[in-house]
Symmetry: none
């Protein structure tokens, strides 16, 4: 197992033999079913996750049950939100769920913390990961603040179609609303508009992309 982890973990070769040994001793491998919430905003601390296969989604959830997707983690991605106890400044309640059946390695929080305290390579690597998240979040905020909802929705549908490798998206309006941090009605209204414009076709539980070119133009516009 550790052999495969080594191939997935980009800084493995830059860690000392002793550090690799410690990781090998305590590393965990976990498989979860689609829909499993693996982190629910509580202060419990799983550790560093490295996705082997599948797809995770990190999102915020407010008191009224509304959601907004912060980011996704795919194969070979590392998730540090589940190591928040190691980051005293990380004070927010993030949720993480498996969007597909997912397999992942877990470096437990205590070992992750020890490694951060001694490994310059890891500290810089984690720094770069967080910086990347920060940058993405900034982008998302700009989208929310300044991009009109039609553009965001067009972009979302196109991205989903890439992720699902299909023009036929099995997704409810409710789910789209949760991804985008808005109400279901807002999504339904805009989807109907897209349909009336011939860009998509709506059937129960499905959004079919009909005019990719126009959707792309809209999302870039």
């Amino acid at each position: 197992m550790i052999q495969e982890f080594a191939e997935y973990f980009p800084i493995w070769n830059q860690m000392t033999a002793e550090q690799r040994n410690r990781i090998a001793q305590v590393i965990d491998f976990k498989a979860v079913k689609k829909g499993t919430v693996i982190h629910d905003g509580s202060p419990d601390c799983l550790g560093m996750l490295l996705v082997h296969s599948g797809q995770l989604r990190a999102y915020l959830l407010n008191e009224e049950g509304r959601e907004i997707t912060i980011c996704r983690f795919f194969e070979m991605d590392i998730c540090l939100f589940t190591a928040a106890c190691v980051m005293p400044n990380m004070q927010f309640d993030i949720f993480i769920e498996a969007e597909k059946d997912t397999e992942m390695w877990i470096i437990p929080a205590c070992l992750y913390k020890n490694l951060m305290d001694e490994s310059l390579v890891l500290a810089n690597y984690a720094h770069d990961l967080i910086t990347n998240h920060f940058s993405e979040l900034m982008w998302l905020m700009e989208q929310i603040m300044w991009k009109s909802f039609d553009k965001r929705l067009a972009k979302f549908l196109l991205e989903e179609s890439v992720l699902e490798e299909s023009d036929s998206l099995k997704i409810t309006h409710e789910k789209i609303a949760n991804h985008m941090g808005t109400a279901r009605e807002v999504v339904t209204r805009m989807l109907r508009y897209f349909q009336s414009e011939g860009m998509i076709r709506l059937t129960r539980g499905t959004v079919d992309i009909k005019d990719r070119k126009r959707l792309t133009a809209l999302s870039n516009g």
Copy 2:
């Protein structure tokens, strides 16, 4: 000058004598007038800033000239947004201006980069700073998405001030939290945000209303 910098830089004592020496040799001290834009989103790279006095504001700016404040830097705060060239993942155009006459130290980007590559203490410290920014940005986004509490709190403060016939409210955060059915921490955080925006001033057991117009606009917004 380096003596005073040492007092302001929290990890000075954890750096090696050789590193301190290098910093002392190249560190710069700069004074700018209120209103000066010290970073304009271009990829030029000043380096790490440490505020000696005054106040900096980091903000995003869109094509139509609309802005949103991301964070502020006060005395003893460190700004890394001006060292974006050292952070390959930091891909967005942030602007930084002096909101008051400001004095600051600058560790040039090249030295900052070298130090990051060799100092575990600095790498972890920078990691914590970015994590903190990320956390704050997440909070700000939640406010923007789901803002209800900021409006409610603004409204509450204005109502209290009518009741007390004063702009100086003798009330604890705990009491406000009780009034609003929320946690004290939530109130404290929002009050600090109001303060950083210049709408109120906080002293022990007192909330002073400083910008009634903006608070009113917020509560109606």
